[in-house]
């Protein structure tokens, strides 16, 4: 099996039409961000060694305010500590880093170069795509040769990974540029860019890896960078805790991923994607227990990385990191890795209907569940975080029903509009924080109740965020409409005619499961429209609630931040062109689907019994009409329920009652996990492992016990040595008598 795979891959490398094109520079795509990481990391280390560039140039207005001998820096720290412990807010304004200017060039430049290179590769790939029947693989060295296990350090380029590379580097570049403005005054500016570059390196490794272990290295690496960036302001315990939570929750998922890899190797003898798809095609049993188990374990990994029920809890807390990080890692790229993994493992999921249905059900439940929580969040980033969880649910529904291109399509459009929403919220928070900072107010800069009427102060952000809102709500002709509609349509069609509809899931017929998931998807779409409109009303409409003094300080962010917003706004508006539905007669219809067809087409067809899914035009129009109607109804509900003029700031807001309170507290899931998992673990660790085993058994019995034993024996021995000759004589005589007695009585 292994040999076949290697020969095939080597042959592909030798004969690939790509060998003599820009694709031979494939290795440079991930290496450029790695170079950026090394350079920025070096600057961060050297900078911390040298100390701040010019202490006297530190916080401008703070020095004047602090007055009588109060050091400006100390004041600033105290201010932010009080602020952050309450709200987990962004922004620590201190002196600029001495290497900030250099980092501002290196950080975005390596990404820009990587993007240009991958665009060049895309250009040449497109020319020869017709002649490519196997992925283009670059092998560098044998990484893990151990017995039958042979794992190469190899990158693989096919249509799927190329799409992901373009999204990661493209959106990544924009977010890097935005960060230049957003993180401008952070004292750890080079460290931030080092982490961000490292993240992109690992993400590219993840999408380009030619086998599961290389993918897994990227998978773990992005997890590491996520941890580092969530806890970027680690001096606040809240942020450090959020980082740890993300890391630990992800470990649970990674456990599943690793089990899946072990089982794949044990049963199919290889972990190389191409060789494995051949081996699985030859040996695996359709719907067999083995392949179902492997798929479920893989999906467990996805639920961790992509924040699905039951492991979604880390993602909302991950908003403790800087906002551009939330945009890049926790919305646009890393969290979609699970979707990519399932699309990449299409050859497994296509023959495991029960596992695929599980993916669909979990995805649909997550979409609805997270959307309901999003209805009642006040922190602007939390709304977007739950929105991300919900949209990821959609993507899983898409790839779960075997509509891989639809899932990836939604992944791409979501990357555009969610990055835009997050960066827009970053722009809002930036303005809010500057305003509150200028007046030394300790109000929450991320609470939407403190915003309102920002459209007058942030006109560009306002317009661009409305585009993203309409896109995510599914209003035509914005990007989200096409991708969401395609996912929902795919579910509906596959409920009528597919291998999934014929299968049974927990005893329920598959078609019923799919229809229910379709309904859940519609419900989630409705709530998406509601909570997004609510967010926009609270943030941008009605009178301003920020405060009298603060109002004068509200202003649009510099062009380095609004520029990326503008590009993302255009992408969110026209991203649907990537994959226009068939009923339209203009433009490139189904471009993405045809592009991905060589990779996932076979598996997608297998699920639909070998026929391209078709429904009558009347049904298709009805589905689209329903989707649009739901988006419009959602927006209308939010408009009619919320009067922008009557909203109140956070300080005057009454507490929530009843079910709304439950929603505001996120169904108390964190509390339930705390009771069910965290506290029992703590209690067991504290009482059994620490006090019982460590202190009691090891320290008590083994360490101190042996000391006590030695001391006790010594005490007994010393008591015998009384120095009384008489006693010794008695002992001697008794000993002699004993020996004599033993001899004579034997």
């Amino acid at each position: 099996m292994l040999l076949i795979g290697q020969e095939a891959a080597t042959a592909a490398q030798a004969t690939s039409a790509l060998s003599r094109t820009a694709a031979q520079w494939l290795w440079a795509v991930p290496l450029l961000p790695l170079l950026g990481f090394v350079l920025n990391g070096a600057l961060a280390l050297v900078g911390s060694h040298l100390g701040p560039a010019d202490p006297s140039a530190a916080p401008h207005d703070d020095a004047s305010h602090a007055g009588g001998g109060h050091p400006a820096g100390a004041h600033d720290t105290a201010h932010d500590t009080a602020h952050d412990s309450a709200h987990g807010d962004d922004h620590h304004v201190v002196a600029r880093h001495r290497f900030a200017a250099l980092t501002s060039i290196i950080g975005p430049a390596v990404l820009m170069l990587a993007f240009l290179l991958s665009a060049a590769i895309f250009w040449q790939f497109r020319a020869v795509a017709g002649d490519m029947h196997q992925p283009y693989v670059q092998r560098y060295f044998s990484w893990i040769p151990a017995g039958d296990l042979r794992i190469d350090a190899a990158l693989m380029l096919d249509q799927l990974s190329l799409v992901m590379v373009l999204v990661v580097t493209g959106v990544g570049t924009l977010i890097h540029v935005f960060s230049v403005g957003y993180m401008r005054d952070d004292p750890s500016y080079p460290r931030y860019f080092a982490y961000l570059n490292l993240f992109v390196f690992f993400m590219l490794l993840l999408v380009l890896g030619a086998n599961y272990p290389v993918l897994f290295v990227g998978w773990e690496g992005v997890g590491l960078c996520s941890y580092l960036l969530i806890g970027f302001w680690f001096s606040e315990k809240v942020n450090a805790d959020a980082g740890k939570k993300a890391f630990i929750v992800n470990r649970i998922g990674d456990f599943g991923f690793m089990i899946a890899m072990f089982m794949l190797f044990a049963n199919y003898g290889t972990l190389d994607f191409h060789a494995l798809s051949v081996a699985v095609g030859q040996n695996a049993v359709y719907g067999g227990a083995l392949v179902t188990t492997i798929c479920l374990f893989l999906f467990l990994g996805c639920t961790g990385k992509s924040a699905q029920i039951p492991l979604y809890v880390w993602l909302p807390d991950a908003m403790a990191g800087p906002t551009p990080v939330s945009a890049l890692i926790h919305a646009a790229t890393m969290v979609t890795a699970g979707v990519y993994l399932i699309a990449r493992s299409h050859f497994l999921f296509a023959i495991a209907p029960v596992a695929s249905l599980t993916v669909v059900v979990i995805g649909a439940l997550t979409a609805v569940f997270a959307a309901t929580i999003g209805l009642k969040q006040w922190d602007i980033k939390k709304v977007l975080a739950y929105s991300t969880v919900s949209q990821l649910g959609y993507m899983f529904v898409g790839v779960g029903v075997g509509a891989y291109s639809a899932g990836i399509f939604h992944l791409i459009t979501h990357a555009f509009f969610k990055a835009l929403l997050f960066l827009g919220s970053g722009s809002v928070i930036f303005a809010m924080h500057r305003a509150y900072h200028a007046t030394h107010s300790h109000e929450d800069a991320q609470d939407m109740r403190n915003m309102g009427g920002l459209r007058r102060y942030l006109p560009y952000t306002f317009a661009l965020m409305w585009i993203a809102t309409l896109a995510i709500a599914g209003v035509p002709p914005f990007a989200g409409f096409f991708s969401k509609d395609e996912i929902l349509g795919s579910v509906f069609m596959r409920a009528q005619h597919s291998t999934l509809a014929d299968a049974r899931w927990l005893g329920i017929p598959g078609n019923i499961v799919l229809y229910v998931c379709y309904a859940l998807g519609l419900a989630a779409a409705l709530m998406t429209a509601i909570y997004m409109t609510r967010m926009m009303i609270y943030t941008f409409h009605g009178p301003n609630r920020t405060g009298e003094k603060e109002r004068d300080h509200l202003a649009e962010a510099p062009w380095v931040m609004t520029g990326p917003l503008l590009v993302l706004g255009i992408l969110s508006a026209v991203g649907g062109w990537l994959n226009l539905p068939k009923f339209l007669t203009v433009g490139p219809i189904g471009a993405l689907e045809r592009w991905l067809e060589p990779v996932v087409g076979e598996s997608a067809l297998r699920i639909t019994h070998g026929e391209a899914p078709e429904v009558a035009h009347s049904v298709e129009y009805a589905l689209i009409g329903a989707a649009v109607a739901i988006a419009v109804i959602g927006i209308w509900i939010a408009w009619s329920r919320l009067d922008p003029g009557k909203l109140v700031p956070k300080a005057q807001a009454p507490p929530e009652q009843g079910f709304e309170r439950v929603l505001e507290h996120k169904y108390y899931v964190d509390e339930a996990y705390d009771r069910a998992v965290v506290r029992p673990t703590y209690a067991t660790s504290r009482n059994l492992l620490w006090r019982g085993i460590d202190i009691g058994l090891i320290d008590g019995l083994f360490v101190n016990g042996s000391a006590w034993l030695a001391r006790g024996l010594g005490w007994m021995g010393s008591a015998l040595q009384s120095g009384q000759v008489g006693t010794y004589a008695w002992v001697l005589v008794l000993g002699v008598l004993a020996v004599v007695g033993a001899i004579t009585l034997r």
Partner: protein, 97 residues
């Protein structure tokens, strides 16, 4: 004759042992040790009648060693008395660690 000799030897030895164990005066204990040595000598002589002359030769050795021991032992006791102003062994526990 052998039995009577051995019986007498055993009695003499037991008196010596009991003396060593029960008395406190170092001189008396020393004398009891001599008593035990002589009980052994008596047993040697008695066995020599049956097993040959080697036992009698051994008695000379024992008497020689006992004489040397008496000299050393009495010297120790004198030194002890000079040091502690007593020969009561219960008040002397210099062997204690």
């Amino acid at each position: 004759m052998l039995n009577e000799s051995l019986f007498f030897s055993a009695v003499l030895f037991t008196i010596g042992v009991v003396g060593v164990l029960t008395r406190r005066n170092a001189i008396i204990i020393f004398m009891c040790v001599e008593l035990m040595l002589n009980a052994v000598n008596l047993a040697f002589v008695a066995f020599a009648q049956v097993h040959g002359v080697a036992g009698q030769v051994f008695v000379f050795f024992v008497m020689t060693v006992a004489a040397a021991e008496a000299a050393v032992g009495l010297a120790i006791i004198i030194a002890l008395f000079r040091h502690k102003q007593t020969v009561n062994l219960q008040q002397i526990n210099l062997l204690k660690g």
